[in-house]
Amino acid sequence: MVGNQVERQKILDIRNLRIELKGRRERLAVVDGVSLSVSQGETLGIVGESGCGKSVLSLSMLGLLPKAMEINGGEIWYGEREDEAQPLHLLKPKELRKIRGREVAMVFQDPMSSLNNSLTIGYQVTEGLRLHLGYSRQEAAAQAIELFRKVGLARPEKLLKEYPHQLSGGMRQRVMIAIAIACNPGLLIADEPTTALDVTIQAQILEVMRQIRDQDGTSIVLISHDLGLIAEMCDRIAVMYAGRIVEEGSVADIFDRPRHPYTIGLLNSIPSPSHKGHRLHSIPGAVPALHERSVGCNFAPRCQYAMECCRIEQPKLSPVGFGHTTSCFLVVEEGVRKGDNRNTADRAEGTGEVLYETSVAAEGTGAASR
């Protein structure tokens, strides 16, 4: 694996991607100008609330968009080596089928509904091996048993002949992971892989995913609404809000020096031991629906710092530190004004604190006036 090179090869490169929902009269942007990249062996977390477009984004990487949606602008490039990079957004269904499951694989959220109930576990796990890699039945079965051991499934030989309904949720999710890693893909996309599972089972699944990443150097895109899970698993985090990326950076950037008001609000609204006895910070209002999104910053209606320009123009993702970008006029303006990029990160921490204090005060008065 080339994972240890100084300059790591980008395995997935998404540029200015726009995905639209085709309506009768108008077309609504579900994903709006998203750029992301994943390096070899890296784990990228995409975090956001329901309806922010994170699942649609992940489906587009596999060419699995529902019929009502289509890519309208932007590019998705995938390749383990630069000269081999393929434009996933241009490939025909037949070409995509060769990549899907072999080079890019996906673990879906709900292990209850994403396995076929009328086929044996063995069939579903070996299907990819036989189609993509041309394994014979026996070879594939032997390989499947190996895979079951790898993901920690007990009695693998018997499991081949069993059906999904005979397994528990945790076991089914392990089977899903076994299917996904069967052809040793370069990129694994996991869309809320543990949301449907209990906490103790969640811990087991994360352990399996960590092993796969460390042993095989597989790159992972982990999509979740759970900030704690993202913090534990990922190298880099992208925060999505209403179809756009509002902040991107390392785990430390996002958790210790968040700059975007939405990220700050999100972090402060998680009940954690240090919040005990205090009022939780809550972001007023709700996520705007597709047709309510504006030309300006989508967070402006819920943002207490919203300025005139926020409602008219969409802020661009701009650097606020090394590898740390955010799309907010407030933060960018401040950075430009101070004209100093070296200390931005240090100052950011202070800003975060101040934002939190004022937001609590503002909320207090809001409640009183109600």
């Binding site: 528990s168 103790t200 811990a203 087991q204 031991p273 919040h275 939780l280 809550s282 709700a286």
Partner: protein, 312 residues
């Protein structure tokens, strides 16, 4: 016969919040429904203010229903889609023949105000509201009859983080304002920790540990609780900690293991756990645990402590 809840004894004090945590299928919702008299227990007693209310007559029951209310997990399915919000909130008053039409009208207005929604919501349908607003309506409906006690069954599990905070704040405010007592059921330990004064941990129909929230959170005694607490994601990335990863799945509730139900996944399991069922016993003042490790001389307390600090 399957015992969803088996030999549970628990008491809730006036004005407190008792958190109830456990994995799906452990019987925490069943216990909540028994508490609110939505289910009838097969055995045992249920005392409310010193009075046995299990199997009490229907007139008595109606009075109890007024005092003990239930908030359901899923705000999408627990509100009738064909009723306007105003009617949804008025319904409990009508059923109990309380007040004249004008009084009911103003009571609904007051309630809407106290949950932070304006009068215009009266004429909307549930599908026009967001998840957080719907859950507020669910809470408001439960409060229409001025109950003393609320059973909250995963009230924020279906909500996004930012909205979850709104509902948790509302629940805290209402508790103070109306001096309510809560039974708060959740699988999310962070949420339970934030809301509760005391906590009970359930595993396969039994309570395995119960105590003051801070105490249990800081010093979990039962190996299951220890695994749960260790699985809480760290607050800051820098505090990444070692998880105790339990092996295996929750056993089938229709074939509960002999002895201690947790022994199949417990790393401290020994002979006695196979043969003898542990009972819930106080280890410290107000902190009870059901585990042989804590009732035995042979296995010293210090030894387990060492194991725990090593693995945490």
């Amino acid at each position: 016969m399957l015992r969803a809840v088996d030999g549970v004894s628990v008491s809730i004090r006036k004005g407190e919040t008792l958190g109830l945590v456990g994995e799906s299928g452990c019987g925490k919702s069943t216990l909540g429904q028994i508490t609110a008299r939505l289910l009838e227990p097969t055995g045992g007693g249920l005392f409310y203010k010193g009075e046995d209310i299990a199997g009490s007559g229907s007139r008595n029951q109606q009075d109890l229903r007024r005092r003990i209310q239930y908030v359901f997990q899923d705000p999408f399915t627990s509100l009738n889609p064909r009723f306007k919000i105003g009617r949804l909130l008025e319904e409990p008053l009508k059923l109990n023949r309380l007040g004249k039409a004008a009084e009911r009208w103003s009571k609904v207005s007051d309630m809407l105000e106290s949950i932070g929604l304006d009068e215009s919501y009266r004429n909307r349908y549930a599908h026009e509201l967001s998840g957080g607003q719907r859950q507020r309506i669910g809470i408001a409906r439960a409060l229409m009859l001025n109950p003393e006690f609320l059973v909250l069954d995963e009230p924020v599990s279906a909500l996004d983080v930012s909205v979850q905070a709104q509902v948790l704040n509302l629940l805290k405010d209402l508790q103070q304002e109306l001096s309510l007592t809560y039974l708060f059921i959740s699988h999310d330990l962070n949420v339970v920790h934030y809301m509760s004064d005391r906590v009970a941990v359930m595993y396969l129909g039994k309570i395995v540990e119960i105590g003051e929230m801070e105490e249990v959170y800081a010093h979990p005694l039962h190996p299951y609780t220890q695994a749960l607490v260790s699985s809480i994601p760290a607050e800051r990335a820098a505090q990444k900690r070692e998880r105790i990863v339990l092996q295996g799945d929750l056993p089938d509730p229709s074939a509960i293991p002999s002895g201690c139900a947790f022994r199949t996944r417990c790393m401290h399991a020994h002979d006695r756990c196979f043969s003898e069922t542990p009972t819930l016993a106080d280890v410290r003042e107000g902190h009870a645990v059901s585990c042989h490790l804590w009732s035995e001389e042979s296995y010293s307390v210090n030894e387990i402590k060492e194991v725990r600090t090593a693995s945490l």
